[in-house]
């Protein structure tokens, strides 16, 4: 019992649990990545998406822009599918529909979900070179509530977090609440 508690506490502070540090994932083209420890990057963004979540899909263009804008600044980006029902074929179709250029990973057993503590789609986790989760939450405040969308976001939380990290500053709001769809349970 006590052991469990301290484990939870550890995750809550944002440290990655030992084992996952070197976990390697294949993308849809069979290339291997270690998204939780990217030595050559200043930070890495994991975009947790669900192909049948309208809020998640609405962010397609902005996700592409963020990935492109920060690539030159040595920030890595991955799209992660945590729904065990999403097959490689389904993920490929999703990439084709929305045009993501960054590598796409499948996480049916929720290794990345657990390591980062995300619960929703579209939720992002920004991982620093020291493998800490530096930001976790929404991309921006486009959605005020389910079915209630602003014409344009007024606060761009993910971009603000990345800018702070690149300037070596602390992230002002390290976690934010996500409007979106709950990630389904992992494969047993």
């Amino acid at each position: 019992m006590r052991c469990c508690l301290s484990l939870l506490a550890l995750l809550a502070v944002g440290g990655l649990h030992g084992q996952e540090k070197s976990t390697s994932f294949s993308d849809l083209n069979g290339r291997s990545h270690t998204p939780l420890s990217q030595a050559d990057k200043k930070a890495t963004v994991l975009f947790f998406l669900l192909p049948d979540c309208p809020v998640s899909n609405a962010y397609g263009p902005e996700i592409k822009r963020i990935a492109a804008d920060y690539e030159a600044k040595k920030v890595g980006a991955f799209v992660v599918h945590a729904d065990p029902d999403v097959t490689i074929e389904a993920a490929k179709k999703h990439v084709k529909d929305y045009g993501y250029a960054c590598p796409v990973l499948l996480d049916p057993t929720h290794i990345l979900v657990k390591a980062t503590g995300v619960k929703m789609a579209p939720e992002v986790a920004v991982i620093g070179p020291d493998r800490k989760v530096l930001y976790r939450g929404r991309i921006d405040d486009l959605y005020v509530d389910y079915g209630k969308r602003r014409p344009a976001p007024t606060q761009r939380d993910l971009r603000d977090a990345l800018d702070a990290i690149l300037q070596g500053k602390a992230v002002a709001a390290a976690t934010t609440k996500v409007i979106g769809c709950h990630l389904p349970d992992p494969k047993k």
Binding site: D52, C53, P54, N57, A58, Y59, G60, P61, E62, D85, D97, Y98, V144, D145, Y146, G147, K148, R149, R150, P151, A152, T154, C181, H182, P184, D185
Partner: protein, 454 residues
């Protein structure tokens, strides 16, 4: 202590699971009746809700959005007269979904599962008399503001027709929110489109139909056939096509073009939309006429819509006293983004006030054409009051301009409009002209007053 807590936890769990609703017995009937029209393959909603696995996977979200009444989408509050096809869960149904999710989403006995709902495979009202399609597809971009676009479709009819129903099928159902049907006998919309070389033309409410000012332009807006001027009603996501009641029909003059005024909601992925429209004709002309009483008149043109930047509680109102006995069969509301509430009441000659339509959280995205379950009898002397409020402050997340700016009446979606349309017949058909005359006078008075103020 810990032991007893544990024990009571166990007991609680035991009790609740004994009474816990199951998917097959309690949840499936709700989903089949209230969700499946949209949540099935090929329809607008992003996933099906027909099988246990479908629902279990999204249980938490289902509990959340039904509790908050975002799903099923239905913007009208409960009022004094029931609407047809009302998409509203009862408090008991909402509680059942909550309990089912809280108790771990049990599937239950297969024998309890009701048969899956069936839907018309082609057109819900059977074989249409005329089917037309947008000649060219319109490209809806992946993102950006909502788009209002008008498309002119030639009907090539050599005779006048009477239309009893219109059905609509989008090709890209994830981006088409609603559409209004208009008739254009002048060819203006088609010409505008042809001249621009683009697919469709911009502007809300048929664009070209909006009065440029002056009595001449507005006179034609009272129309003759019924409903809104030159209107053939509309379609909104999830709507089921219905014939007008009682053999009523819209007049469709020969040579008219059909105008679709469609509202698009970009989805994150670029789509091509080429809508298909089905028209159903009456074989004989209707024996009754109907009309749309629009309050305030002309989409709020003369209602003094001029909302200062930052103003939170701006409102417009209009009233009309019925000159004859009428029967109402439908009601719709129209405004753009910053409208907040609609309230339409009928004060009967005995001074009792009934609510005809109340919307407390107006959403531009859901423009329903509400049809009353039964005719609503409104005797001569009944006063219809319509009040619309707006919030032009930065606190209104739907405000399309940030920081807010002064908003006046206009057809662009960053301008505002505001009106309701009550669709009525005269209880005694011979009194119809008197009804029309009464409304005509109301219209002229409203414009005079507006002209005087200016």
């Amino acid at each position: 202590m810990r032991m007893s807590a544990m024990l009571s936890l166990l007991i609680c769990a035991g009790v609740s699971s004994a009474q816990a609703p199951t998917f097959n017995k309690d949840v499936a009937p709700i989903l089949f009746a209230q969700c499946a029209t949209c949540h099935r393959p090929g329809e607008a909603a992003p996933f099906a809700l027909l099988k246990y696995e479908d629902a279990k996977k999204r249980g938490k979200l289902i509990a959340q959005v039904t509790q908050s009444k975002q799903m099923p989408p239905w913007k009208a509050d409960k009022s004094d007269f029931a609407f047809r096809n009302e998409r509203r869960l009862s408090e008991a149904q909402i509680a059942t979904l909550q309990k089912w999710v809280a108790a771990g989403m049990v599937e239950g006995d297969k024998n309890d599962l009701p048969p899956a709902p069936t839907f018309a495979s082609e057109w819900a009202l059977g074989k249409p008399d005329l089917v037309v399609k947008m000649p060219k597809a319109f490209k809806v971009p992946a993102e950006g503001k909502d788009i209002y676009r008008n498309f002119a479709i030639a009907l090539n009819l050599n005779d006048d027709k009477w239309v009893r129903a219109v059905d609509f099928r989008p090709s890209a159902s994830s981006v088409v929110h609603h559409t209004l049907f208009f008739l254009d006998t002048t060819g203006t919309a088609a010409k505008k489109e042809a001249d621009s070389g683009q697919v469709g033309s911009s502007g809300a409410m048929g664009g070209f139909r909006v009065p440029k000012g002056g009595l001449g332009g507005l006179g034609s807006l009272t129309g003759s056939g019924g409903g809104q001027p030159g209107s053939l009603g509309g379609w909104a996501l999830g709507a089921q096509a219905r014939s007008l009641p009682d053999g009523l029909a819209w007049k469709l003059p020969k040579g008219s073009d059909l105008i679709l005024s469609t509202h698009f909601h970009p989805s994150g992925k670029a789509e091509m939309e080429a809508s298909t429209i089905a028209l159903y004709f009456s074989d004989k002309p209707p024996t009754k006429r109907f009309t749309g009483l629009q309050l305030p008149i002309a989409f709020g043109f003369a209602a003094g819509i001029d909302i200062p930047a930052g103003k939170k509680d701006f409102s417009i109102e209009d009233s009309f006293v019925l000159p004859v006995d009428v029967k109402a069969f439908g009601i719709s509301a129209h405004a753009h983004y910053i409208a907040k509430t609609f309230n339409v009441t009928a004060t009967l000659p005995d001074k009792k006030t009934k609510t005809l339509l109340k919307i407390s959280d107006w959403d531009f995205g859901w423009q329903e054409q509400y049809r009353f379950q039964d005719y609503v009898d409104l005797p001569k002397g009944t006063k219809i009051d319509a009040k619309i409020t707006y919030d032009n402050s930065a606190d209104n997340p739907r405000n399309p301009t940030n920081p807010p700016r002064r908003v006046r009446w206009g057809k662009e979606s960053t301008d505002e409009m505001g009106s309701i349309t009550l669709s009525v017949i005269a209880a005694q058909e011979p009194e119809f002209s008197e009804l029309q005359k009464g409304y005509q006078q109301h219209l002229i008075a409203a414009i005079r007053k507006f002209g005087g103020k200016k």
